[in-house]
Symmetry: C2
Subunit: 337 residues, 2 copies
């Protein structure tokens, strides 16, 4: 094995987003909830899938989106996640490769198909998501290789991954190896429902392993059962070394011990699709950390990256984030990345 | 002239603090206001001075205190200010020299005596200050040498200096030379009354020249005529590149464009004498800037420096601030200075 060197290794769900436009009737006839994200099993996914006219299939997954944005920023990332050796699995692998990301996890030869998130867009432009984790949940302890963790500055984990028993063990292994080799662990809370499902376990996981925690306001409030943001800021400073909380168009706040840094959001003319905003913020933030920038600048880079993602459909960058962020930093008279 | 190289050159009042303990009657008999700082002229100063049993004479002056703390932190500072060639003037010059600060301003041979701040401590531990600026106000345009400003990274000015017509010209010259040579200008608002006296002029001065503004809550609220701190933070971001606002035991907040960083105060067991807290905060902050640390860390170093100053009588450090701040940064797991 040649000598590896990564900025960030992410462990996450390998999921392909399947987009389709449907009428209001489609959801009602199948008794499907509108808006939000719901986990579904194979039969249910198959039932929805069968009747659809697919518009677009694009690689997704929260941590995978983050890692794609880090690659676009100029970083050297790797991804660990499980696909099946089927069509969608090949698509996922191709997209990851084209983005310049190392991805060596062996695909499943049998068992569940590649995970997919069926995104149904109704005429009112609302998105209803039905996620079948499939092969993703089969990520195993053995897929996390010590050499890879040892070769990375930061290990990045998504909370969604905790939904699979086998994947949980893979996450814990990644955390332990990171600590063993003195690497930073970053963790993203992913989703309110996911936090509700695993609240106690996440609190413990963060306390024990996590150096950099990403969350939005709703997620962090849910995690610590506290609704007052200022109180939350005083709680998280005891729970985690660095916590970055995104607050939509109000920007973000980074808590690091005695320091709380509020950073405004980068303004965008029109928010076309907010999917992936948090993922790309985390990417920009981590890229700042890798480059030893101040936490305020890390948050700024995060907000720049997010502004690109939300200005078009899809959760992966459509331009070179490196060039984009460089020009934004230059505008503010800040040192380039 | 040998090649100079300074971290900070300060332009300020050269004042000696004259401390004396008096009974309550002393103030009443002479009809002197208790608490706060009042500017007095020579006859009045002489009248107070004549009757006193002096306990201690120590070099003071706001910017001079800052510069002494920068020297103690390990910086290379210089001071520009006017004394008379009298006993207090010699004391001031000696203290500045012993602290390791370059101080080349020619003393007055005639005219007003060296400035002094008579500090009367009543049995209730309250301090009533009567400041005679004397020679300080005679600082002139010619005392600010281009070579010195050119040799420094930062030019630091105290607002108190604006009280003298001649000194104003010296300040403006320092600002213009700093801009000419691409140096940063830092400015401290000094005191609420001083801000009231020169409010409009200070707003203009800041807008035109100042890169780093230091103020406490009362001073900045007075300057911009706004009582809501959060609104102030949105005002100052348009007025000055970096603004550091101290808030006593609530810590400080640094505004830099889109970023607002709140930093907790360093706790002290007992606040013995808060004189010089703002001066030493500015010193720590600027020392952080010189060392290219993040603004949050600059504020932290400021709070460490201030915690040393307020834990004893007098506004100048009594230990090596460098060692003190190093150990504090180490405790927090931060890179040393």
């Amino acid at each position: 094995m040649e000598k590896l060197f990564y900025d960030v290794v992410a462990v996450g769900n390998a999921v392909v987003d399947v987009l389709a436009r449907v009428g209001e009737g489609f959801l009602k006839e199948r008794n499907l909830p509108k808006g939000g994200m719901v986990l579904v099993e194979a039969p249910e996914a198959g039932k929805i899938y069968a009747d659809l006219v697919i518009e677009r299939e694009v690689s997704g997954g929260s941590a995978a989106n983050t890692i794609a944005a880090i690659a676009s920023l100029g970083g050297t990332p790797a991804f660990i996640g499980k696909v099946h050796d089927d069509e969608l699995g090949k698509l996922f692998k191709r997209d990851i490769g084209v983005a310049g990301i190392d991805f060596f996890t062996n695909p499943l030869e049998q068992g569940p198909a590649t995970g997919r998130s069926i995104v149904l867009v109704t005429p009112d432009a609302e998105r209803s998501m039905f996620t079948y984790l499939g092969a993703s949940k089969k990520l195993s302890y053995h897929d996390v290789e010590e050499e890879m963790i040892k070769s990375s500055k930061i290990v990045y984990l998504e909370a969604y991954l905790w939904d699979g028993q086998s994947a949980q063990k893979a996450m814990i292994k990644a955390c332990k190896l990171a600590k063993k080799h003195g690497k930073k662990v970053a963790f993203s809370l992913s989703d309110k429902q996911c936090v509700i499902r695993h609240q106690q376990e996440f609190v413990k996981l963060i306390r024990r392993y996590v150096d950099i925690l990403f969350a939005n306001e709703v997620e962090i409030k849910t995690l610590y059962g506290e609704d007052d943001l200022l109180k939350i800021l005083d709680i998280v400073k005891e729970e985690c070394k660095i916590t970055a909380i995104t607050m939509g168009d109000k920007g973000s706040v980074v808590v690091n011990g005695r320091t709380k840094t509020f950073v405004e959001a980068e303004k965008v003319e029109e928010v076309v699709d907010s999917t992936g905003a948090g993922d790309s913020y985390a990417a920009g933030f981590l890229y700042g950390i890798i480059n030893e920038r101040s936490l305020g600048t890390c948050a700024l880079i995060g907000s720049f990256a997010a502004s690109e993602i939300i200005s078009h459909y899809g959760a992966r960058p459509e331009i070179s984030l490196r060039g984009f962020v460089r020009s934004k930093l230059q505008e503010l008279g800040k040192k380039s990345i």
